[in-house]
């Protein structure tokens, strides 16, 4: 299939899903690539996704304030991010030697593994931990118990094993869940701009000059995304 045809197909998929205008097409590389929302995964396996859905929906559960992380599309977001340059760790300086005191000196963990690799090993270790301590998959645990394990990872009380920087893995998942929930909907999360509506962020607006004098007021602005109007 020719490249143009492929592009055309991509546009068709996007249009069908967002049912709105899109400016995709010729200028590939300039406009953000819209994430597919059809559940077809490029990176995550079904098993990984089940665990991740459980984790993400404890990090951002569905409640009266808005949908859960997975309900807002954060797994679509994550799969797409892991499939691209971010997942490949394309910006990381990976030369050795890796010094044992890197984290101590920099006061922040440094990784030469890519985010994609960290999810692979992290989820594997989390599942092994869950099976060992509770005899069940993490996804099948009671939500209170899931919270307990996540809190243990967050605070350093739980170590998932030598292959994994447990605290770092928790922070990676939290960061990505939040990104998915609050990034522009074109990246697959923040469905219907639910994250933005929850906090009162109007989105990708160009011009606030009409509002600069109205300090301290509720402005009731309609939310706008890069490609969607809501």
């Amino acid at each position: 299939m020719k490249r143009r045809e492929l592009l055309f197909r991509a546009v068709a998929v996007v249009t069908a899903v967002v049912a709105n205008r899109t400016t995709h097409g010729e200028e590939e590389g300039l406009l953000p690539k819209t994430t597919r929302r059809d559940g077809v995964r490029k990176v995550l396996t079904q098993g990984q996704e089940e665990i991740l859905k459980a984790v993400f929906d404890r990090l951002i559960p569905g409640d009266e304030l808005g949908p859960s992380a997975s309900g807002a599309g954060c797994l679509d977001f994550l799969d797409d991010q892991l499939a691209g340059g971010y997942g490949e760790g394309s910006t990381i300086y990976r030369d050795g030697p890796v010094q044992p005191h890197e984290e101590q000196m920099l006061q922040k963990a440094q990784f030469i593994s890519t985010p994609r690799e960290r999810y692979y090993f992290g989820l594997k270790a989390l599942e092994a931990y869950s099976l060992k301590t509770d005899g069940a998959s993490f996804a099948d645990l009671q939500s209170d118990r899931q919270d307990e394990i996540l809190r243990g990872m967050e605070t350093g009380k739980i170590e998932l094993g030598e292959d994994v920087n447990t605290k770092g893995f928790f922070e990676l998942m939290l960061t990505n869940a939040r990104e998915g929930y609050f990034a522009d909907p074109c990246y697959g999360g923040n469905k219907d701009m639910a994250g933005w509506k929850m906090i009162g962020f109007p989105g990708a607006r160009y011009d606030y000059r009409a509002y600069t004098e109205r300090t301290g007021q509720e402005l009731n602005l309609v939310n706008v995304s890069l490609i969607l109007k809501g």
Binding site: L30, S90, Q107, F201, T215
Partner: protein, 590 residues
């Protein structure tokens, strides 16, 4: 090795400093070749209005920045430690394209105070020698005064179209701007920006405390503006996507918006992009640069000869190129001898996060350089006689933008970071968070310096720069003092939660960005035994090489550096055109 046609001037790095030098020298009739490791990027083509308001892409993934894979450093706090590489983005936020950091910067556009240029002399005069020489600090003057630089500050502000209001016009304090600023010959070229909600609260509280709030001068133009180079800028729309973003609206002053339109029409100018300069070449006499060597996009090594070399790369890259090329004696931290790598300084930051109840800050309305500040505790604007430090900080609040991903971290201490508790808190406090940021002075120390790392290299096999640094006792005391002032202001502002922070309490790290203002390493001065360049930014040991940028600052002020970089670049350009060309190859005499 392939060899290009010889140029009059080779400019290494096309950020603010490089593009200003290139514009002035090519306008003056010199044939200029600029070499930049990044691709050419353009505000309207690469960051148009339909693409720019995208926090994930530009602020979170930082797609406009140079990648640590290609440009990083190693660091340690003390001489006895083994330095480690910075693997992910930290304090080095270099530009990924031609235009440098000037493309993605926020836009705070300051002048330094007269005191900042003469910290050593003024400290001895006002507080005595023991304060200046405490055994740790290494203070030295810049070899010029504020008055020497004033015409070039003015020149840069005209080119960039800075929005602001004069606080001191030719010696007369106006009561509308910063009453502590030094005399300026003219007002800012465009009026100050609007006062937004967080600034309003700050202005009221600081006035009640007897302090003097003013609007920060910003490179976000407030009205349509045509600059002396014939470039046109459009009024800022307060979209709030500025720092780390481009500006397709032509409202943020960048090399692309302010200088490139001129360069594109200049027949004496040529740019080689996607080409990384790896060294400055020297003649057999050891004191004359013959040009530079670079590696182009396809990995080919090419020589670019030139009569004058201007190093206008980032602060860290300027120093590294000098070290790699053997220009100037490397600094020895044990003897304090040598000049290249000397006097690294940073930006000492403390402050407080604030949360209010039931306000509508509307943080999404903003501009990169927009905020209010007080300078009552900056520099030497207050009496330090009974204090145990010198220096201070501009205490500012920001109306910069509403970044909903980044602000997930801005919740009151003790708030759940996830779960329904997080959602509840964020729903409430997104509209109610503000920050007081103390942008503090940073004084050089005997042991704070840059050399070449013995282990780690870049993709071309060239050693990474190694930074050895931690906060001095003086700067820690300053940060604590200004932190306490921020807490007082925060309470006066009526915040329900005031959470102070102080980066200087812990050892310095390059991984956690208190600021991206790295300073020094090729500092200017009147004494060639303690400086790498003279007051015209000319290398003492290689007179046809000029080293321009924040690498030349012997200490850092409580302000952002770009305005001073721009002024120093124009000063160097004037010196080359008016003085150097009459006696090429010689040191410029006053």
């Amino acid at each position: 090795m392939a060899r290009n046609t010889k140029a009059d001037v080779v400019v290494v790095g096309l950020g603010w400093a490089g593009s200003l030098i290139a514009a002035q020298l090519s306008h003056g009739g010199m044939r200029v070749v600029a070499i930049d490791r990044g691709p050419r990027i353009d505000p309207q083509t690469d960051t148009p209005l339909t693409v720019d308001p995208d926090e994930l892409r530009w602020s979170s993934r930082k797609e406009l920045l140079a990648k640590p894979r290609d440009n990083t450093l190693t660091m340690r706090n003390t001489l006895d430690q083994i330095a480690v590489p910075q693997r992910e983005l930290g304090i080095l936020e270099l530009g990924g394209g031609a235009g440098g950091q000037g493309f993605h910067w926020a836009g705070m556009a300051w002048r330094f105070t007269p005191w900042d240029f003469q910290v050593r002399t003024e400290t001895i005069k006002r507080y005595g020698m023991p304060r200046a020489e405490d055994g740790e600090l290494q203070l030295q003057d810049w070899g010029l005064t504020y008055d020497d630089l004033e015409p070039d500050y003015d020149g840069w502000e005209r080119i960039a179209g800075i929005a602001g209001k004069a606080g001191n016009l030719r010696g007369k304090v106006t009561n509308e701007g910063n009453p502590f600023e030094a005399p300026r010959s003219r007002d800012y070229p465009t009026p100050k920006l609007k006062t937004l909600r967080m600034m309003e609260i700050f202005n009221k509280a600081t006035s009640e405390l007897g302090l003097n709030p003013f609007t920060i001068p910003a490179a976000n133009v407030s009205e349509a503006y045509a600059n002396p180079l014939g470039a046109h800028l459009a009024p800022c729309t307060y979209c709030g996507f500025c720092q780390y973003h481009g500006c397709g609206n032509y409202s943020k002053s960048t090399p692309q918006t302010c200088v490139f339109p001129y360069l594109q029409k200049e027949p004496n100018f040529k740019v080689i992009s996607k080409a990384c300069v790896t060294r400055v070449n020297k003649a057999a006499d050891g004191r004359t640069a013959t040009g530079v060597t670079y590696i182009n996009e396809s990995g080919k090594e090419i020589e670019q000869p030139g009569d004058i070399v201007c190093l206008t790369a980032s602060q860290m890259d300027n120093v590294r190129l000098l070290l790699v090329s053997g220009i100037g004696k490397p600094y020895d931290p044990l003897s304090s001898e040598g000049v290249v790598g000397r006097n690294f300084s940073y930006q000492t930051v403390s402050g407080a996060d604030l949360w209010f109840e039931g306000d509508k800050i509307n943080p999404f309305i903003g501009a990169g350089g927009l905020g209010s500040q007080i300078d009552n505790y900056n520099g030497d604007n207050f009496d330090h006689s009974s204090l145990d430090f010198i220096g201070g900080a501009g205490i500012l609040t920001l109306s910069r933008g509403g970044a909903p991903i980044a602000k997930t971290n801005n919740l009151p201490p003790g708030t759940p970071r996830w779960g329904s508790g997080f959602k509840k808190a964020y729903s409430k406090y997104y509209q109610n968070h503000g920050v007081l940021f103390n942008q503090g002075t940073s004084m050089p120390t005997k042991h704070g310096y840059i050399d070449l790392d013995p282990t780690y290299t870049d993709r071309f096999g060239i050693p990474l720069p190694r930074l050895t640094y931690t906060y001095s006792r003086n700067d820690r005391a300053m940060a604590k003092f200004t932190k306490e002032r921020a807490v007082e202001i925060g309470h006066q502002m009526g915040a329900s939660h005031v959470a102070p922070f102080d980066f200087a309490q812990k050892p310095f790290t390059t991984a956690i960005g208190a600021s991206n203002h790295t300073i020094g390493g090729a500092v200017m001065g009147a004494d060639r035994s303690t400086s790498a360049v003279n007051s015209y930014l000319q290398a003492w040991d290689c007179p046809n090489t000029f080293v321009i940028g924040a690498s030349a600052f012997p200490n850092n002020a409580g302000y952002n550096p770009t305005g001073t970089v721009g002024a120093l670049a124009l000063r160097a350009a004037r010196a080359i055109l008016e003085k150097y060309v009459r006696h090429p190859g010689e040191l410029i005499e006053d």
